[in-house]
Symmetry: C2
């Protein structure tokens, strides 16, 4: 395909007229498709239905220590759930505390706790003039909303194919004591699907923060969420690396089964050093009498262990993979060589990240919405919703059916082409 | 019975020798009984087992708006759960937001939010020199631990048979802008089982706080937890009263099914004005994508509605009532007229509050522990764990079996007698 920029004004105008006709045709279908969030499809939800089998026998409701999971007790979670989520995130059960249904909630509470009570005895962040977080971009909008909500200044750190720009991270973390944290989705990152390289993980574990209360917020959301059997990323386990580097308290790992069992009805956990976990426990023992242990049991009974969990994730992959391929194939077929956008083909996770020509993302998302396709808001992958280049668009292929997705991708591609042609024409 | 104080030294010493013999006999049994927490018994847990029936049919997993409860969405909770918990706490579904498994967690988060973000736009409490809460005493230890954790100064307000001393409450709330809240368990209060009178509720609704961000934390924990069919307390609904008084935003009501369905696997809710709920939502929409809607569905399916819930609570009462009566009858039989303690016979809730002679509570609890009976720590019913008179002891009769409870109460009464005799002897 000839790069669009090399086409003449006349060629572009003719092309535009044709694309507009196609666009009006799909628009007339009056569609209403949602590609905005990483929401599992109905087909995926069906996979875990056996988890909802009856638990009506009293014996089934005791955990392995003999404690009745229907009653109060066991603040850390039942041992078998700590083991299962430990296996999921590759740490010992002793380094795991189980929480409620949402790891986002735990991250929020962790920032909130640091604001009011500091970190392991440090000055509460709310007493400081300035608190900063590093935000690898593009990244997860809900992370950025938490730090924004607490008035924490966010600093963009560019992502590279091996993870965040570590020169910049090391520089900022080691020199500025106001830098208290960094948001990371280290495996199959949201939205780019990048997995941090072993070198990157080691550099993280060896950070020498200027602030004693600096922590890495390691949101291992997609740790077992592969799309392929034969093409898998792997991530070096960071807690172990931190320990080896003499920085055992440097990282909080967050994990959940929201996209393994049921969004909203899963279980979440934190993996961290004993000292950090005690900090969590101090807060948690005032905050609640305990989380939902019956739901913890459901998870353990259904998955059995990590092998069962991996088998289950393969079923998810069977459903998700064709969807990713539809988007990737369409982008390849329609846009390759046109030089009006770049994208990644991830090996796992929930998203495809698309970078349009500068200044085009908002217009593309608006254009697609005109034809009934809802994308994530342009800018959402950046702190404060501001993408300096107005370029990044997050595509979430999981929720629509295959047929819907074909149509939605077609509309997306038409929108990219039309907006890009306008941009090129305006500069000719 | 002759008051112990009127007995001669010799009579008391003879009595003491006899009681000590009895005490050694029960102690030799090597018991391990827990009367420390308001924990439902196994028999009560069995009542809600049908809630854990399988939900494996996909159709069963849609709420009445047709939304799939397995997936993300509906931050406020499913409509039928809002209706059910609205009925439970006597407000419209519009005034209800459903949360996770713990109302304590919601109260904690509410205080935490006020610390970091203020109340409906007020100055964050963490920016203020001093924040104070009123604490009706004796009260619920976990309430006090929340305010203590956030460094909020707690002021004791004595309970009366009609609720907190309202003269004192009105005086403090209307004159001191540092007073930001009051902890209330308005029905079958923890630990005394007192229900606030209509007059008290109206005085609460008509408070004229010096602080615009003052709120009543109305923990309606035992709203439907009656012990008797024919002797029930009723509580005037406060949200309505606040509205009538022109103070619609004055109160947060908290409610949960922890002692209706399963402790730890229930659902919690807040009832409040639209303005207050929007304040909750602003926080919540950053904190989580949503709470466990499948569990909300379980509750709705199991109870059907408020009538089903009331029927269910009668079954709880059948189990709890005989336990309360064992304690009450034993106290009556063994201590009436001895003037070494007073207590209440509540009509609902989870506790019997016992007031020993001044300076005796800690010693009594220690004595009972010697014989294997664990009571709530003396002092726990007061802020900072300090009962100025060292007098109040909370008895939780729910968890032990009837036979265990008989023995435990016997040990408790022996402990009361022995410690009281020592005290009287030391003053003779």
């Amino acid at each position: 395909m000839t790069p669009y920029k090399e086409l003449s004004k006349e060629q572009l105008q003719a092309m535009k007229a044709d694309l507009e006709k196609q666009f009006e045709e799909v628009k007339a279908k009056g569609l209403n498709l949602d590609m905005s969030r990483g929401k599992p499809s109905k087909q995926q939800l069906e996979l875990a239905m056996d988890m909802l089998e009856e638990l009506k026998s009293t014996d089934k409701l005791k955990c392995e220590t003999g404690i009745d999971c229907r009653n109060y007790g066991l603040l850390d979670g039942i041992p078998e759930a700590r083991r299962l989520l430990g296996e999921m995130t590759e740490v010992s059960p002793e380094n795991i505390v189980i929480f409620g249904n949402s790891s986002l909630n735990v991250m929020f509470d962790t920032v909130s706790r640091s604001m009011t009570h500091g970190v392991c005895g440090s000055t509460p962040w709310c007493k400081l003039d300035k608190v900063k977080f590093l935000c690898p971009v593009p990244g997860y909008d809900r992370h950025f909303r938490i730090t924004e909500y607490f008035g924490i200044e966010m600093i963009n750190v560019p992502m590279t194919p091996t993870g965040p720009d570590m020169d910049m991270v090391e520089e900022l973390v080691s020199t500025d004591p106001a830098v208290k944290g960094i948001w990371c989705v280290p495996k199959y990152s949201n939205p780019q699907g990048i997995t941090y390289s072993p070198e990157t993980v080691k550099r993280f574990a060896n950070l020498k923060p200027a602030a004693e209360d600096f922590r890495i917020f390691w949101d291992n959301a997609y740790c077992i969420h592969h799309l392929y059997d034969d093409k898998q990323d792997f991530l070096v386990e960071i807690l172990d690396q931190c320990e080896k580097a003499g920085n055992p308290d440097l990282v909080y790992k967050f994990v959940s089964t929201s996209k393994v069992s049921f969004p909203g009805s899963g279980i979440a956990a934190v993996a961290a050093s004993e000292r950090n976990l005690n900090d969590f426990r101090k807060h948690m023992s005032v905050q609640t009498i305990g989380h939902d242990k019956i739901n913890q049991l459901r998870h353990v009974r259904f998955f059995g262990g990590i092998v069962g969990m991996h088998k289950h994730m393969k079923k998810h992959a069977e459903i998700l993979r064709p969807k990713f391929e539809i988007v990737e194939d369409t982008l390849e077929k329609e846009l390759s060589g046109a030089e009006i956008g770049t994208w990644q083909n991830p090996r796992g996770g929930y998203f495809i990240s698309f970078d349009a020509m500068e200044g085009c993302a908002k217009a593309i998302v608006a254009k697609a919405a005109e034809a009934g396709v809802k994308m994530t808001d342009a800018g959402a992958t950046y702190p404060y919703g501001i993408d300096p280049k107005d370029s990044n668009i997050r595509i979430a292929p999981s929720f629509p059916t295959v047929d819907e997705l074909k149509l939605a991708t077609e509309i997306f591609v038409l929108s990219v082409k039309l907006v890009s042609i306008d941009k090129i024409l305006s500069e000719k």
